[in-house]
């Protein structure tokens, strides 16, 4: 309550007191006028009556007012979210009834809010459990397709013609895209649930970068992209190898996807005083300014991105950002990418305006001290139950 309000508000008890005084003064004058008597007698009478009235009114009104003030305070507490408070009263009068009604209302509210919160949690858990369940169930047929196409590709099931091999390679590649999507969905659902696990162990960061990069060599070759790599030497760092690879795969994948034929990618993994500093620049289509604030948002896909790659999930950068930030690192980007554009200026000048690409550079830091372990809590009891019911 503000000072002004506190100072000028007249309490209910004061009003009652005032009314009593006015009425008793008028009554006394009337009585004195009718009965007659000296001024001294009248003065004594007025003093006695005033004193009695004052004490009586003060006790009654204070009691009444205190109950209302208590009530007001409880309502304030309730407004602040404390629904478990109750008023204790033995009163049978109107104030007592009001207090009991309020207690009852608070009980109902408390139950209602509890039900709402638990419903919300239940829904949220059901949603993420569904994603998790679906993803795990999808992995079984995906692994079967992966292993059998792998079987065919390795020549274990007999020799294939070039054309047949090309088809099987396509099956293998598309299936791998689905596997990556399912893994991203699982990672995103774990991030949302807060059950994302970080398991750091001594990891060769350059080996992870190379493993990730090797996945894209065929595409880099196909698109005749000029790749430039610069690696510093690192001792093994305490990183989660799977998560480190997810970071590399996603940023490399984006650079390769969005760089046109004959473009250039520059990939740097450097050691600074405190961090692993990763920088990947491309001469790709770039990120339009109006889309830049949204690119780390879950499921967001830019207009140009949709045109170039129709079936992207919009999960990659969301997952990468979560991993990097949970590891104590930072991720940011620059588009147009100044570095490569300056290097390629000569060529860019020869291109018609609408063909010029803006390019993008992503920057990531991960602390050299490594990632902090984080345990998940997700239990997959539902999965076990489903499997059991399948057997029955």
């Amino acid at each position: 309550m503000s000072f002004k309000k506190r100072f000028f508000v007249i309490k209910l008890s004061d009003k009652i007191l005032l009314i009593f005084f006015v009425f008793s003064t008028v009554a006394l004058f009337l009585v004195a006028t009718i009965l007659g008597g000296s001024w001294q007698q009248l003065f004594i009478l007025i003093t006695i009556v005033y004193a009695a009235t004052f004490i009586f009114t003060y006790v009654v009104s204070s009691n009444f007012s205190k109950s209302l003030i208590d009530l007001a305070l409880k309502v304030q507490e309730m407004g602040a979210g404390n629904l478990s408070k109750r008023l204790v009263t033995n009163r049978k009068d109107e104030v007592g009834q009001l207090i009991n009604s309020l207690n009852e209302l608070m009980s109902r509210l408390q139950t209602g809010v509890a039900v709402d919160i638990s419903k919300h949690r239940e829904l949220s858990r059901a949603k993420t459990d569904f994603v998790s369940l679906a993803a795990h169930q999808l992995r079984t047929p995906l692994s079967i397709v992966k292993w059998y196409s792998d079987f065919l590709l390795s020549g274990d099931a007999g020799k294939f013609s070039k054309e047949q091999l090309k088809y099987v390679e396509e099956i293998f590649r598309s299936n791998q895209r689905l596997i990556d999507l399912v893994n991203s969905l699982l990672d995103a659902s774990r991030i949302d649930l807060g059950t994302f696990v970080i398991e750091p162990k001594p990891t060769d960061v350059i080996e992870r970068a190379e493993t990730a990069l090797s996945k894209f060599y065929p595409e880099i070759e196909r698109k005749k992209i000029k790749l430039e790599k610069q690696y510093d030497k690192f001792d093994k760092l305490n990183l989660d190898p799977r998560l480190t690879q997810i970071i590399f795969e996603n940023i490399i994948s984006n650079a390769v996807e969005y760089t046109p034929i004959g473009g250039k990618i520059k990939f740097i993994v450097k050691k600074t005083a405190k961090d692993v500093f990763i920088k990947i620049s491309d001469t790709g289509f770039g990120i339009p300014r109006e889309e830049q604030p949204k690119i780390f948002t879950k499921l967001f896909r830019g207009d140009i991105a949709k045109k170039i790659q129709e079936d992207g999930s919009g999960l990659g950068l969301y997952v990468v950002k979560a991993i990097v930030e949970k590891s104590g690192g930072r991720i940011w980007f620059e588009s147009p990418s100044l570095e490569l554009l300056l290097e390629e200026k000569q060529d860019a000048d020869n291109l018609p305006l609408d063909k010029k690409n803006m390019g993008t550079t992503f920057f990531i830091t991960i602390p050299l001290k490594g990632m902090m372990p984080k345990e998940g809590t997700k239990k997959l009891e539902n999965l076990k139950n489903i499997k059991k019911s399948k057997q029955a």
Partner: protein, 130 residues
Amino acid sequence: MSEKAKKILIAEDEEAMLEALASKFEKRGFAVIRAHDGEEGYSLAIKEKPDLLILDILMPKMNGMDLMEKIRQDDRWGADVPIVMLTNISDPENVSRAAICKVYDFLVKTDWRLDDVVKLAEDKLAFPEA
């Protein structure tokens, strides 16, 4: 099959996966013992005492985690035999249970090519202390 062939037990209830894995190992000269559920896996493991076990987790009758723990309770052979969990469930609870039982590795099926799974087993059997 030569007498020196290393024995691998694969417990996997999905027939297609079991066959893909088993054929790959057999082509590389391993003797493969196929189990289609956890209980069969346990009885065959105790009887055949394979050199390495590859276990799925979600299986009928007994799941792979319970099978793993039961094998580890066998003092003479099961306590040290290399176990690889090969599953599509990578939740932390199972991973930590497997770590307590000192499994050699915990692999997610979709992340691994068959040749790499075989190579992992070959490496472990060639260098048991690794």
